[in-house]
């Protein structure tokens, strides 16, 4: 591969939104046949750059030039860029849950003659594509019935069906567990060997360093550096420094451990059934306790029932036929809905911020205060001034990057949205905070900040339950880790005895024979 055969050149791209300059004179060169990594903090402008490239932000709404395959491009919409073989897989998956895999793959590109779909051809081609991406499922299965990892592969298969020359993946592994991530990355490398060029956005440095050939760092809407990994020796810390503009030696902040003896929250014999299939038991007699000032982790594979556990505890927000007991501060409590849970000072930060965390059409302010309007109102009448002051103060404390608290949350970058959700729950002043994948899609700097906030809460005597697919995160933050396998707690491991291997063993310790 010669260094000067760029397939793509983006020159001096500047993109403004009302109140924000998302991209400021950005340059990006991508060589034919390479995997080019794009990295940067939340809100650095990665997604925006890719949206400019693919025509989501139409020509004329930005400044600068895009040269693809030697010719100048002025895309007015996605279709025009797809015609040239530029295909983007967005941060938020765009599959239709009620349609089958085959239907999704050929949506908008139907295998048809005179408007009549040729289903056998569709199926044959789908099977071929699924084989290419290494997915072994029935092409007629509905999207909603397969896991996120598999959905991600379907997206890629869909891209491949379009004669793609440049594949853009925006944080494809954010929602995936390690095994699924591995699969996906291997697939990318394989495709590269067949000559495909791709741009890969991710916050996971390790995986980027492993698979990519070049790497461009963005910070605050500007290009900082492009590294060629074959010729330069690059370490994680160099990149982190480029990203955040300072050294970040420790990924997990220090915390003064002040764990009381008093058990703040306890779950006894908790069993839950599937909401639609009342014979399917998802959780089996789960027992766990959290002490004052303690951070406990819940580790488990996809489908082990972690989110189901958290949501069923949190005001029975998930599941049917829930049985078992909850104790808070030694008192038995009943949480029949979310408002009761909030009253008992319990908070739950969902893993899915777009669907379950935020009201995307509403402002940062309205989202931040929604769960605790009591604090900014008197006899149910809102005090707008108090609300603004409180919202400003959380925004500053959480370091949310937005032009103002009136910004609509839909326009925030993923990481900043996550901070808003977390801020909203901290505003309820909980004694027990349940965090479901709190750092998903968040950059290293922001992760550090969020960890710091979690630690501060623990130091103040709050108790925290942390659910995460990233074992290093649990190992770095928790005092004790429960492992969950097929809906049952299989171990309760003290942090001093925990390492990835031990946890993995318990997480996969199938108890069904």
């Amino acid at each position: 591969m010669s260094v000067d055969s760029p397939i793509l050149e983006m020159k001096s791209i500047t993109k403004r939104f009302p109140g924000v300059k998302a991209l400021d004179d950005v340059n990006l060169n991508v060589q034919q046949g390479e995997i080019h990594a794009l990295i940067g903090e939340n809100g650095a402008g990665k997604s925006t750059l890719m949206k400019v490239l693919s025509g989501v932000h139409a020509y004329g709404t930005y400044e600068g030039e895009i040269i693809f395959n030697g010719s100048l491009c002025e895309f007015k919409n996605i279709n025009e860029s797809e015609e040239l073989g530029i295909v983007i897989i967005h941060q938020e998956l765009a599959l239709i849950p009620e349609l089958s895999i085959a239907e999704n793959i050929f949506l908008g590109n139907e295998q048809q003659k005179n408007g009549v779909i040729n289903w056998s051809e569709t199926l044959v081609k789908t099977i071929e594509l699924l084989k290419k991406v290494g997915l072994k499922v029935d092409p007629e299965e509905k999207i909603k019935n397969i896991g996120v990892g598999q959905q991600q592969l379907v997206e890629i298969a869909k891209a491949l069906s379009k004669d793609v020359r440049l594949l853009i993946l925006d944080e494809p592994t954010a929602a995936l567990n390690e095994e699924d991530s591995e699969n996906l990355l291997n697939l990318l490398v394989e495709l590269k060997e067949q000559g495909m060029t791709s741009i890969l956005i991710s916050h996971k440095l390790k995986e980027l360093l492993k698979v990519s050939d070049s790497l461009t760092v963005l910070r605050d809407g500007q290009t900082i550096q492009t590294y060629h990994l074959s010729s330069q020796k690059i370490t994680e810390s160099i990149i982190i420094k480029d990203m955040v503009g300072r050294d970040l030696t420790n990924l997990y902040p220090e915390r003064k451990k002040v764990i009381g003896n008093e058990v703040v929250f306890e779950v006894k014999d908790w069993s839950v059934y599937h909401p639609l299939d009342p014979n399917k038991q998802l959780l089996h007699n789960v027992n766990l306790k959290v002490k004052k000032g303690e951070i406990i982790g819940i580790a488990g594979l996809m489908g082990a029932g972690r989110t189901e556990l958290a949501m069923s505890i949190f005001g029975k927000s998930y599941g049917k036929k829930i049985s078992g007991e909850l104790y808070k501060g030694g008192q038995k409590i009943k949480l029949n809905d979310v408002s009761e849970a909030i009253k008992h000072k319990i908070a739950y930060v969902s893993e899915n911020r777009k669907d379950y965390g935020l009201i995307l059409i509403d402002s940062v302010r309205k989202n931040l205060t929604l769960s605790n309007l009591k604090k900014v109102s008197n006899k149910n009448i809102l005090n707008m001034n108090d609300e603004i002051v409180e919202a400003e103060s959380i925004k500053t404390k959480m370091n949310v990057k937005a032009p103002s608290i009136e910004q609509v949350t839909n326009h925030l970058s993923g990481g900043n949205q996550q901070k808003v959700v977390l801020g909203k729950w901290i505003f309820t002043d909980p004694d027990l905070l349940i965090l479901d994948e709190p750092s998903r899609g968040i950059d290293i700097g922001a992760k550090f900040e969020i960890y710091k906030i979690i630690n501060e809460l623990a130091e103040k005597g709050k108790s925290i339950i942390m659910i995460s697919s990233e074992l290093p995160e649990l190992l770095g933050m928790c005092d004790r880790i429960y492992t969950l396998c097929e809906g049952k707690i299989t171990a309760d491991v003290d942090i001093d005895e925990a390492d990835q291997e031990t946890l993995m063993t318990y997480m996969t310790q199938s108890w069904r024979s």
Partner: protein
């Protein structure tokens, strides 16, 4: 200049609505050779549209929660019919009759709200059924006949005017006085808000801009009461409307309840996980719609001075159109009470202006349809820009 731009940018939707209304008023004022804005006709426009405005307010709330109510016309007719039976046939005291009718509206709203909120049946279906049910029941109650006349005190609600306390001369001085009082209250509140904003260090409108706003609004308020004063003064129904608009605007903007209603429409899942009682909110909004439909039905019956089987025909469409022209979004979570009123007035002025010009009902329908489509298309195109 910067200030004006920002103001425009952040309130673009509101401004375009007002500009559209003003544009339509000017257009018809010219086309009708000045008849549109005569005191008699302005009074007429208010009275003819009062029942639609009442419905539009309720419909706005329903649409904000992401639902729809197709039954309001039938419910209004049904309650109107029942009011006829209570007041005309049975001679019940008017006050009692009104209370019973409002309670009946609440009950009907609760019935529909129950199916929508707690049984999860799409509101389109529930209220389509309601549309048939209550139209049918209207016929049953009236047995195909018209009940008339209503007692005078009942008709006051919809068709009479506040007596002029200083009652001499051409001009209703009392009406003008109320306009002035209203203006003073408005100006005082505007300044007290500004004082608070400055105290907290928030952004405020620059002084010249604020003055401009105050002067404009004051002129509009007083011009309006001046026109009314040249005819018979303030209709009672206008007081009801003003109270409803102010009350509901307050609820939607300044109370926890209002915030929760918006949240349900914005993202029901997230709202639920934030402690909002989503089902109860939907239930309440439908119940509220029932009460307002009852009020609307009574105003209409009073105005007609009769309870008729055809009352309220197509009201639901006018109410929905008003809400949509006024900025409601069918995906939920978006819309204002103010918008609903402006939307209803746009429709009302259109109706009235075209009637004055002698355009037949056939063309009126078609033109209203086009205006509805144009309003929404404009909005969508504007958003994509």
């Amino acid at each position: 200049m910067e200030g004006i731009k920002q103001l425009l940018a952040s309130n673009i939707r509101r401004f375009t609505m007002i500009i559209a209304l003003v544009g339509i008023i000017i257009l018809f004022q010219i086309l009708t050779h000045g008849i549109l804005l005569t005191p008699l006709n302005v009074t007429n426009i208010i009275m003819q549209n009062s029942y639609i405005i009442v419905l539009a307010i309720g419909m706005m709330l329903v649409i904000i929660t992401g639902e729809i109510d197709l039954s309001v016309g039938s419910v209004a007719a049904f309650v109107g019919a029942v009011s006829g039976v209570l007041l005309v046939s049975w001679d019940l005291p008017v006050f009692l009759g009104i209370i019973i009718c409002l309670a009946l509206g609440a009950l009907i709203g609760a019935w529909q709200g129950y199916w929508v909120a707690y049984v999860n049946i799409p509101s389109f279906i529930v209220t389509l059924a309601g549309m048939l049910i209550f139209r049918g029941l209207t016929l049953v109650v009236l047995q195909g006949q018209t009940l008339a006349p209503f007692p005078d005190s009942f008709r006051k609600l919809s068709s009479s005017f506040i007596p002029d306390l200083f009652g001499n001369g051409e001009l209703q001085l009392f009406t003008i006085l109320i306009g002035l009082i209203f203006t003073v209250i408005y100006i005082v509140s505007e300044f007290s808000i500004r004082k608070k904003d400055i105290k907290y260090g928030f952004n405020t409108l620059s002084m010249p801009l604020l003055m401009l706003k105050i002067i404009l609004l004051s002129v509009v308020i007083n011009l309006f009461t001046y026109i009314l004063a040249q005819y018979e003064g303030l209709p009672y129904v206008l007081l009801i409307l003003v109270a409803l608009v102010l009350g509901y605007t307050f609820i939607m903007n300044k109370t926890v309840l209002g915030r929760h209603i918006y949240a349900v429409g914005g993202n029901a899942n997230a709202a639920k996980l934030s402690g909002v009682k989503t089902k109860r909110m939907k239930f309440l909004v439908f119940m509220n719609m029932g009460i307002l439909a009852a009020l609307s039905g009574m105003i209409f019956a009073g105005r007609l001075n009769a309870a008729t089987p055809q009352a309220g025909n197509l009201f639901e469409l006018d109410a929905i159109a008003a809400a949509v022209i006024g900025g409601a979004s069918f995906t939920g979570g978006i819309g204002t009470i103010f918008g609903a009123v402006i939307g209803a007035l746009v429709m009302g002025v259109l109706n009235n202006g075209m009637s004055l010009m002698g355009i037949g009902i056939d063309w009126q329908q078609a033109i209203k349809g086009l205006v509805l489509l144009a309003a929404v298309a404009f909005d969508v195109l504007n958003k994509n820009k």
